[in-house]
Symmetry: C2
Subunit: 168 residues, 2 copies
């Protein structure tokens, strides 16, 4: 174990990597929001992440092996960020955090519908979602016509937003 | 939703409550280390938490409903901290964080044996552990002679420490 670590406890080490208020927010937006470029991550941020913090966290997450950064062949001068397997393996932690937040904290209906679906779907759905992320971010092959978990989550969110706009 | 929150997303709100490097460390030590008093939490800290940070986090965790603080009937002038149901519901998150840390980070053998047992035991073991925590911290009744999960985890840790001391 590296002396720079506070201890070799797996929970401590995980918190050393992810235990700040922004790193998991950035991974969440890449994972669930399919935002792959700096500008999208900045402009669509629900939590209004500051540009310098976003730049710092992206750099740190690349250094720590959670993201890779590459030139986007379709956009000159733009970098595209991808999740690594290490980040994809955080899906169950996100699912549990979402479920816990829904139970105990003042969540908004729109922003918690996806967490609700993930919770209800359980481990089977998480595995499907992880396979989909592997296809999207790591170039793994998926069987053709595999139904998209992300599309389902996103549609449920958009339906709810539309329903609320109508009734408002 | 309170305007003081960055957003109503359940993952964001969970990070607002727990997303610093110390809050979950304090809960971990109360949960897995059965440390209930300030001095124990301070002196036995593997990560050498500073006294002012510990005091601040304990206060914050009480304010946020994760811990309760009471006078300890057996120790004059000592407060005893207990987990609430809200904190006990973090067991699956700790289990997943421990599993993730073991897979990707430079954990020490001694400090990861408990995470390994939790991971191997799966959800059934986590439920048993949560019931045990409810008995210990919330005064709920357990069926007599229920085998203790914590005792098993602790024994595995102590056995490993003893084995390593012998072979050193």
């Amino acid at each position: 174990m590296d002396d720079a670590h506070r201890s070799g406890c797996p929970i401590n080490l995980t918190l050393e990597v992810l235990g700040d208020r922004w790193s998991l927010i950035v991974i969440r937006d890449i994972m669930f929001g399919s935002r792959r470029h700096f500008r999208e991550l900045l402009q669509n941020s629900e939590e209004r992440i500051a540009s310098n913090i976003l730049a710092d966290r992206l750099r740190r997450l690349v250094d720590r092996g959670l993201l890779t950064r590459a030139d986007d062949p379709t956009h000159k001068q733009k970098a595209i960020y991808s999740l690594t397997e290490m980040a994809i393996q955080l899906v169950p932690i996100f699912a549990h955090m979402g479920a816990w937040g829904r139970r105990y904290l003042p969540v908004s209906e729109e922003l918690s519908i996806r967490a609700e679906l993930l919770e209800t779907g359980g481990e089977k759905l998480w595995e499907e979602f992880m396979d989909e992320l592997r296809a999207k971010h790591l170039g793994k092959k998926l069987p053709p016509e595999t139904p998209s978990v992300l599309a389902r989550l996103t549609q449920a969110y958009l339906d709810l937003v539309a329903r609320k706009a109508k009734s408002a």
